[in-house]
Symmetry: C2
């Protein structure tokens, strides 16, 4: 089942923008909030940008890795996970013309992408949306949620990934850090 999600840069919404920073290539117009809307086709008139992505089958993860991930990963939407980051990424043409085994080799054998992510589970919950194949300006939209006390861990995670061989193929990356009010559950 393919799920389409829209991240909309706007003047209102659940997630309040703390910072927006162009890490590689050019950034996105600044907005005060980010709204997440599923399967929305109407462009809200107050939006500065809209990024659309879809969930898909795994592209590199092997069976044993997925079992290790499944054993520890957390769902999105935890009450105490009031910090989030939306990081859209585009890789260059050199990456996309590599064969599957070459990309897999860079992704894990050289860059330890899954291994690095595992170190930060379950505190940092993560979801990947694809968008290269639908003609968007980015290839991936990565979404992370964590509690404020894990903000430093998240910085270390980003730093570790950006030092990898894989990241040499990233030609555009925007980091949008977000917070929301604590949600109180009515008992």
């Amino acid at each position: 089942m393919i799920t389409t999600v829209n991240f909309i840069g706007t003047a209102f919404g659940q997630w309040c923008v703390e910072s927006m920073c162009a890490i590689a290539g050019h950034g996105l117009p600044n907005t005060s909030h980010v709204r997440i809307a599923s399967n929305e086709h109407q462009e809200p008139s107050d939006s500065a940008w809209r990024l659309t992505g879809f969930t898909s089958n795994v592209r590199y993860t092997e069976k044993a890795e997925r079992e290790r991930l499944s054993a520890v990963q957390a769902d999105l939407g935890r009450l105490n996970a009031t910090c989030a980051a939306l990081i859209p990424i585009r890789k260059n043409a050199a990456w996309w013309t590599l064969a599957q085994d070459e990309r897999r080799n860079i992704f894990e054998a050289q860059s330890h992408h899954i291994e690095i992510g595992l170190r930060y589970l379950p505190p940092i919950a993560r979801k990947l949306y694809h968008c290269r194949d639908i003609g968007q300006e980015f290839d991936f939209l990565t979404w992370f949620e964590f509690a404020p006390e894990h903000s430093n861990d998240f910085d270390h995670l980003l730093d570790s990934l950006r030092r990898t061989e894989e990241w040499k193929y990233v030609e555009r990356e925007v980091e949008i850090r977000l917070t929301r009010e604590i949600a109180y559950r009515i008992e």
Copy 2:
């Protein structure tokens, strides 16, 4: 560069339908012709169906395999390749929930998908379009072109693929066989 292509079942067009057959699952409405249109968003009023797909990076092919393929494969549009086949395919949920190494293992180690295709190169030219991630009714649109004298070879290619372990995951497959007039090049 992502290229989007539309295959349109219609009453006119370059490719004349010789036969349409549902191999697995339900078929498509019969039409007399298939027209190929790039980046067309307007639905022609006389069309019975439209299948849209996009080219993308390779998902299973490894470097050594791609080199073997590149050395022998033929381009589409050869003057003598007056026969074609459009075969839309959908795989089941069990396939898509497999990890990358499990799918690759079934695809090549068990089913020899690339190895079988290589046996029929260069006579059978082939192009793959993806469509699962854009919410289409099929996952792939496969397109083949060959000269009439290679029609039996093409039948053997299909027969070999359909006997594989990989094909146990195919839940819908339609085979549309096509011909066109010989194109004379003006010298």
